[in-house]
Each structure stands twice: as structure tokens, then as C-alpha cells.
């Protein structure tokens, strides 16, 4: 034993165990899938369609809900209002709810008899077993990631910068788009990617709303229950690879935007 001391060794061992726990199942998944099985699954139209559906619906859900969620996050960061604590708690509720329970709750809301379902029916849309319904289910469970991250980003923008902009004659809307939003951008992008990722991986709420059309997590489950592990495994590997590729691309794109530094003296104040 040496300059690191016993405490550091214990830390190292515990951390390694956790990492092993996270990596080992994934590694096993990849090792147990043969190249032939993998290629065959990759060519499978049903698998391709489900992965594509998962990606675009998760992205659409994130994008459209972000339009309302980002200003809402600013409101939470900047304004005090009655019952704000309860509102904050409500936002985190989907994280602690069992997702099948969330799906059941949402189903009551968007089925033909539910308030939103009735409105959609007027437009000739049945939200159940529909990509729009899947998007709502994904958004329901993943919105907290965007809202919390964006709220923290806005809270880190010194309020004085916004006040300075107002003092220079800018409208509240202009201050939001030229000062608050650009300075909170990195947190918002992080929240966006987290919401998108969470939406893509959602199973419990979506399977209640729409078994068909099948998103990738439902398809993997369906293959597992119908044909067993060996049939589900290649689809899971393909989905993981595609998901990782998408996140890597999104991360790289967001990194390319030059970080906006908020000087320490501002951040502290």
C-alpha cells in the first residue's frame, strides 16, 4: 500500500463494482449476439420501422413540448407565486410514478371518453394506438428532465443581465430571446437531450397507450414474450446502438455551439 491509502482503494473498488454492474449486462448482450443474428435483425423491416418510429416520435414530443416547457421553466426560475412548491412537486411527479400507472392515468385522459380524447375526436384523430398518443405518453414521463434542467439553467443566468437589457429599452420578449435563452442554452440542450432519451426508452406508459404501432421497447418486449430471449436480443442490441449513435450526434451538435461563459462574479451574485 502506498501513497493512495486504504480509503482511496475502497473508493476505487466500490466504484469499479458499480461500473461493472452497469456495463456487464450490456457487454453480455453484445457478446451473446452473433453477427449473423444482428445483420438479419437490422434488415428486418418491422424492427427498422419501430426504431424509426421511436426516434421521430420521441423527438417530436420533445420538440413540441419544449415550446411550452422552456418559457415555463423560466417562470419557475424567476418568479415566485402562490403554491410554487406544489407546482415544483407536480413536475417531478412523473419521475416517481410507476410508468404503467402513468400510462393508465394518461389513457383515461386521451381515450375517446377522456377530455383530450374528445377534442382529438373532433379532428378525426384517435389518440390511442396512434403516434400522437405515444408522443403524449413519452412526454408525460420525460418532461421533468427538460423542465428541471432548463429551470436550473435560467436560474444560473444573473437576473441583473435581464434587468440591464430592460433598462436598455428591450421588451420582456426580446430579453428572453436575446439574453435569458442564449445564456441558459447549454442547460436547455442538456434537458432536451435527456427528455428525448427518456422518451425513446419509455415502455410502461407507452405500452398502455399504444401496443401498435410498436415503438422499439415494445417490439423488444413483444419478441421476448412471443419468441424468447434469442429473438429479442438482436433487436435490443440494434436499438441500443442506434440510440447511442443518435445521442452522440446530438451531443456533438450541441457541443459545437460555443459555450456561453457566465463570469464568476455574475454567477455568484
Amino acid at each position: 500500500m502506498n501513497r493512495y491509502g486504504p480509503f482511496n482503494w475502497i473508493l476505487l473498488i466500490l466504484s469499479s463494482l458499480i461500473l461493472l454492474f452497469l456495463i456487464a449486462p450490456l457487454l453480455g448482450l453484445f457478446i451473446q449476439t452473433s453477427a449473423g443474428e444482428f445483420l438479419e435483425t437490422a434488415k428486418d423491416k418491422e424492427v427498422q420501422d419501430s426504431i424509426w418510429l421511436t426516434i421521430w416520435v420521441a423527438f417530436a414530443a420533445t420538440f413540441f413540448f419544449a415550446i411550452a416547457a422552456i418559457p415555463f421553466s423560466w417562470l419557475l426560475a424567476r418568479k415566485n407565486f402562490p403554491l410554487k412548491g406544489i407546482v415544483q412537486g407536480l413536475i417531478d411527479l412523473p419521475v416517481v410514478l410507476p410508468h404503467t400507472a402513468a400510462g393508465i392515468a394518461l389513457l383515461g385522459f386521451i381515450s375517446r371518453d377522456g377530455p383530450l380524447g374528445k377534442i382529438a375526436s373532433f379532428a378525426g384523430i384517435n389518440l390511442v394506438n396512434n403516434p400522437a398518443g405515444i408522443a403524449l405518453a413519452m412526454a408525460f414521463v420525460s418532461l421533468p428532465f427538460l423542465i428541471n434542467s432548463a429551470r436550473d439553467g435560467f436560474a444560473a443566468v444573473p437576473e441583473r443581465l435581464e434587468k440591464a437589457a430592460l433598462n436598455l429599452g428591450a421588451s420582456r420578449t426580446r430579453v428572453f430571446f436575446t439574453v435569458s435563452l442564449p445564456l441558459a442554452w447549454r442547460s436547455i440542450i442538456t434537458g432536451f437531450i435527456m427528455m428525448f432519451a427518456r422518451g425513446m426508452s419509455e415502455f410502461g406508459a407507452v405500452v398502455i397507450i399504444a401496443y401498435h404501432p410498436m415503438i422499439a421497447p415494445v417490439l423488444i418486449y413483444d419478441r421476448f414474450t412471443s419468441f424468447g430471449l434469442s429473438s429479442a436480443r438482436p433487436a435490443a442490441v440494434l436499438f441500443i446502438i442506434v440510440a447511442l449513435a443518435v445521442f452522440t450526434v446530438l451531443r456533438l451538435l450541441s457541443e459545437r455551439r460555443r459555450p456561453v461563459m457566465v463570469k464568476k462574479e455574475y454567477a455568484d451574485s
Binding site: 441583473r160 440591464a164 433598462n167 428591450a170 421588451s171
Partner: protein, 352 residues
Amino acid sequence: MLTLKNISKKLGEFHLTDISIEIPDGTYYVLLGRSGSGKTQLLELIAGLNKPDSGEIWLDGDNITADRIQGRGTGLVFQDYAIFPNMTVFGNIAYSLNANRTERTGMRRRVESVARELNILHLLDRDTHHLSGGELQRVALARTLITRPKLLLLDEPMASIDASLKDDIKRLLRNLNRKGLTIIHVTHDYREAVSLATKVGVIHNGKIIQEGKTDEVFRRPVNRFVARYSGIRNFYRVTFRKESGNWEAVCNDGLTFLMSEDEYPETGLMILRSDDIKILHEGPSNGEDNCFKGKVTEILPSEYGMEITVDTGEVFYVDVSADTFKEYPVYENSEVWISFSRKAGVALHGTS
């Protein structure tokens, strides 16, 4: 003309209380106070960042108390400048012009004009992350001046810049004021008030405790707080008496000063500015009102030159310029005479 009428505002545990000020056009008004005295809060009320609980703010005949921040005609430069870090220097200065949808060539011309005036033309295309404190301040000033404010509000403008740049900034601010711009400058440093202000207000615990022309405030502080705040270090608890038609102030140890005014209370504090006291190298001569022999106990460099502490039984702090000190040096433990005019001693009626 800016008029504050009975402004009060509660901010947590802190209160701004019944503040009334009149600031004529073209005034350089320095609001002097310690940190936490309420000076920045008052500035923010004038700028409209907060609204007063009661009272009114009038600017050029208009009641602007409830006006939006954008429409008040006040330009505020924050203590930390609040430069937008996501914009270049040009973007910062042109920000208000963008807001007003100024046409692009006109915008460039106006930005360059104000940047030239503030000597930052060469910085226009730079981003703001690597600018010095002095450069950031000029950008903040340019950004505000381009809006052509009726009233320029400066929050501790000297607090974050190097001592070497302070004179440049003072010169700049003085020039802006000479061109007719009304300025309210908030600071904790009385020396800024001495060198810039035409009018001074001293704020303490959310109340204006003295206001007036700079010279009046510093020559005739109303109480010990203002006196200390205006750099006075010589305080003497005295009894006033009239002897042979002349008023005298008698210290506890019997030291007696001749005074010049017609009326005094029975007891009080007498103050004396350090630069009103002279050190006599030749000993007392005729015509000196107050002249005492003492021992030099300490000599310290000060911004004026030297601060010499003389103990005559009472302690006197005497400011001597560097040149005078060079020509007529004094030494610790040596005996010297000090003298001051009877007009130099000021009686404080309040002793807080």
C-alpha cells in the same frame, strides 16, 4: 430635474425611509453610504427595477413612479457592469438600437461614435470575456450612453477597476457631466464625492442624513457619522464657553480651542479636518488662533502625502503633502507645533 418625494420601500428586513431629494439638471450628485445603507436600492428604484411602496419619482415634470423600466429615460450602469457575455462589444453597445429597430448603417455610425468617445473603438469586434475591468466599464457606459438617457445612474463605478484607471474614468465622467448630463453616482468612498460631486447626499440605514453642496457637507457635517464618513478623523468632546466675547471649546484635559461662530451649545463634539491643521517648524508666531506643542507619535504615508499623528494631550491627525514633507521633514518622537484657524473647528450638534 429629478425629484424624489417621500420614497419608502421595504426590502426584507431593510427599509428605505421617506427619502426626498431634488436634483437639478446638470448636477453631478454623489450618493454616499456604506454597503447595506440602501444606496443601490434607491438607484434601482429610480431606474424602475423596483417600485417604491410609497412616494413619487418625478423626472423632468413627469411622474415616472409607475412607468416601465424601458420608458423612464434613465440609464443604469451596474456595479459589475452586467455586460452580456453572449455578445461582442459591438453587440452590447448596439443592443438598445436593435431594440429600437435602428437601420443598420445608422446603427454602426452611432456605435462607432460613442465607442470613439469612450476610446474603445478598437474593441468593437472583440468578445467580452477577456476585457479588463476598465474596458468592461467603458463598454457598459457606451451601451448606456447610446440610449441618450436624461439621467445617468452609476452604481459604484470605481469599485471594480484598478486604481490607475480611476483617474481616467473620473475625467470621463466629469466631461460627460460638463456636457450637461445629469449623473447620480453611488459610492462608499467619500474621495469620489470630493473629486466629482457638485451635490452630495449621505445615506445611512435607508435614510438620507445629510444633503447639500459638496463643500457644505464635507465642511459642515451634521453629525459624527457624516464627519467620519467624509474622512474626518479629529473629533474632540468639548464644553463650549464664552470668554471675553470669544467662544472657546474646552477639551476634557483642559486644552482650549478658539472658535469662530456666534452661538454654541453647552457641550458637543468639535471636528477638525486633517488638512486644516498646519505643522509649524519655526514655533508659534503672532496671529495664530490655535497653536499647540506636541510630540510626533506616528508618521504614515497617505494618499495626500503623509499623515502625521501629533499628541498634545489630545491626539491630532495632520495631513501633509509629499512635497511639504520632503521640504520640511518631521520625525517620530520629535516635538512640533501645530496650528489651525478658529474657523477650522466645527461644532457638531448631533453626536451620533
